[in-house]
């Protein structure tokens, strides 16, 4: 392990320890903002875990997030909490595997299109099921999980996503993904089973999204398909990851913090024009900072040297 890696691990451990104290230091508003930021940190990092190296733009984040949230809504009252999380993860894995196996062996466009409508599809299917089978649309989520507990769970998930990302970067799978991102044909000719690598990573990345949704659900006391599968979530995650930069593990977080604060502000000031604002911010980022803040940081570091 290089010195730089040891330092990053120490810095990460220190940051985690400090962040773990947030519920004791700030009031309710501060905590809810922190929950927001950490949940987006997990989502954006998980997103770029897959989309960064493979360059497949996934527009389906909220499909998995929503699946997680709905699993909690259905099972939280009857089953112990770890079982709820396990069920959410299993459902997420199955859906991701079906989507991945049917689209990722083809060119990237199919995947983008498929992921574009996936949230809408799942939303309609859940709605159909609820209306026809359970005869209810919308559910109440009653648990005794406190906001601080949600925060700590998300923080633990964030640590986990970073550890997994770090390990992938050092593993055979990480090398395979970088090769695929460069030139898929060549990657196959060096013996890489590209479909398997992509599906594996896609499944892994979506598990984190599903779990985030499951953990977040108790924050809302009531959810219905429109809330759980709100496409703005996919969009927000995408912007944050791109602003931060998807080429480095720490990149997305750099985008999450400023944008989460900005969106908080915009939502309070312009509740009716929020999506226009977000759209404009997004277009600005695509044009002005295509390689993200992490790219800018690297340029700045490299220049004086």
């Amino acid at each position: 392990m290089s010195r730089r890696e040891t330092l990053s691990i120490l810095a990460g451990a220190l940051a985690t320890a400090i962040l773990a104290c947030v519920p004791f230091l700030f009031g309710d508003y501060g905590l809810s903002l922190a929950i927001n930021i950490v949940s987006y940190a997990v989502l954006a990092t998980a997103w770029s875990l897959f989309s960064g190296p493979t360059r497949y733009v996934s527009l389906a984040t909220v499909a998995f997030f929503g699946i997680g949230a709905y699993t909690t809504a259905v099972f939280a009252e009857t089953l112990p909490w770890p079982a709820v999380l396990a069920i959410a993860a299993v459902i997420g894995v199955v859906v991701a595997a079906i989507v991945g196996l049917s689209t990722l062996r083809l060119s990237g466009v199919y995947f983008v299109i498929f992921s574009f409508g996936l949230a809408e599809l799942v939303r309609q299917l859940v709605t159909w099921w609820e209306v026809n089978k359970t005869r209810t649309l919308g559910r109440y989520v009653f648990t005794d999980i406190t906001a601080a507990q949600i925060y700590w769970q998300l923080l633990a998930l964030a640590v986990l996503v970073f550890v997994v990302g770090f390990l992938i970067g050092r593993s055979r799978l990480g090398l395979a993904l970088r090769a695929i991102g460069d030139d898929e044909t060549v990657a196959r000719h060096t013996g890489i089973d590209t479909t398997r690598a992509k599906v594996a990573l896609f499944v892994l990345s979506t598990v984190f999204m599903t779990l985030t949704g499951a953990i977040m659900a108790p924050r809302w006391t009531y959810i219905d398909p429109a809330i759980a599968f709100n496409p703005v979530v996919s969009f927000t995650v995408l912007i944050m990851a791109l602003l931060g930069g998807v080429h480095r593990l720490y990149g997305p977080v750099l985008g999450v913090v400023p944008l989460a604060l900005l969106f908080e502000f915009l939502l309070a000031r312009f509740p009716n024009h929020f999506s226009i604002m977000v759209g404009l911010v997004f277009i600005l980022i695509v044009y002005a900072i295509p390689r993200g803040i992490a790219g800018l940081v690297e340029q700045a570091v490299r220049r004086p040297a």
């Binding site: 360059r55 733009v57 527009l59 049917s102 689209t103 083809l106 990237g108 466009v109 199919y110 983008v112 299109i113 498929f114 574009f116 409508g117 809408e120 599809l121 309609q124 299917l125 709605t127 159909w128 209306v131 026809n132 496409p231 703005v232 969009f235 995408l238 791109l242 009716n272 024009h273 929020f274 999506s275 226009i276 604002m277 977000v278 759209g279 404009l280 997004f282 277009i283 695509v286 044009y287 295509p290």
Partner: protein
């Protein structure tokens, strides 16, 4: 009953075909994967609504006004917003990713404007909703008119692309932009025109759709998705393929909505899409490439 459902399925399919033809021009020729495509359809539908209830004019008049406006708007969007991306992109894949991102942003802007103006409520107006009886089946006159107009517009486009000089240039760019340049075709202009033409087509479809469907500001995404599915099913850049795939999708959706459950139409769309992906990834009429 079956005949009625089939007829209304054909109408819907005709709309999908028209919408997909526009998208196949934008994606196949200009190489822009436009995720804000359906928003323009909804915007045109609102414009037609305004023509009818605001100005008390026939939506058919809107058909003469709205598509040219959409043409100009799309042309401007391509020149101002998308051409910098075309210049920046090193490869076709890079352009695809960039255009997906930029138009995804655009989607939220246009949708946000419409939400601010009209809210999330559903709108419709009643124009020519006279029942007609054809071979024992009942069809609303507005649907039939929309279908006829879609056929006329689609046929006109097909002839324009296959019989005129400019159309040939546009098709050449779709096949190979580099080679097209070599025979003195201005690829940038051809791309901009194709993109703008795609915008005009989807606006025309929006006006037609507004005559017989209820719509709201959030519905654009669904149309974009269906257009994309139809384009992929028909084979990218293939107008005839888009026509057939559009009809297939319209029919299947209508059968599912009437005979199975209206809540499962999107699931049906996805099922067909998956089937095509698994069996013929190059599209129904597409040839496998070298």
């Amino acid at each position: 009953m079956l005949l009625e459902v089939t007829l209304s399925g054909v109408t819907l399919g005709g709309m999908y075909a028209l919408v997909a033809m526009g998208l196949t021009l934008q994606y196949g020729v200009a190489r822009i994967m436009n995720l804000s495509y359906g928003e323009l359809l909804i915007a045109a539908a609102f414009a037609a609504l305004w023509f009818y209830s605001g100005l008390a004019l026939s939506p058919l008049l809107g058909l003469l006004v709205v598509p040219p406006l959409a043409f100009a708007l799309s042309y401007a969007i391509y020149r101002i917003l998308l051409q910098p991306l075309v210049r920046r992109a090193k490869t076709r894949d890079a352009l695809e990713v960039d255009s997906i991102l930029a138009t995804f942003g655009l989607l939220f802007v246009i949708q946000g404007v419409m939400l601010a103006a009209f809210g999330g409520a559903y709108y419709s107006y009643s124009f020519l909703s006279i029942p007609l009886h054809i071979a024992g089946a009942t069809v609303a006159a507005n649907r039939l008119l929309a279908l006829v107009l879609a056929v006329v517009i689609g046929l006109g486009l097909y002839l324009a692309l296959t019989r005129t000089r400019l159309g040939t240039a546009v098709r050449a760019v779709a096949v190979d932009p580099v080679a097209a340049q070599l025979v003195a075709i201005d690829v940038r202009t051809a791309s901009a025109l194709a993109f703008a033409l795609g915008g005009a087509l989807v606006a025309a479809a929006g006006v037609l759709v507004s005559m017989f469907l209820t719509f709201n500001a959030n519905l654009g995404v669904v149309f974009t998705l269906k257009a994309l599915v139809v384009v992929i099913m028909g084979g990218v850049g293939n107008l005839l393929g888009a026509l057939i795939a559009g009809l297939v999708l319209g029919l299947v959706e209508n059968y599912v909505a009437v005979f199975v459950d209206p809540g499962l139409t999107l699931a049906a769309t996805y099922a067909i899409f998956l089937l095509v992906l698994l069996v013929r990834p190059q599209g129904l009429l597409g040839r496998s490439s070298r």
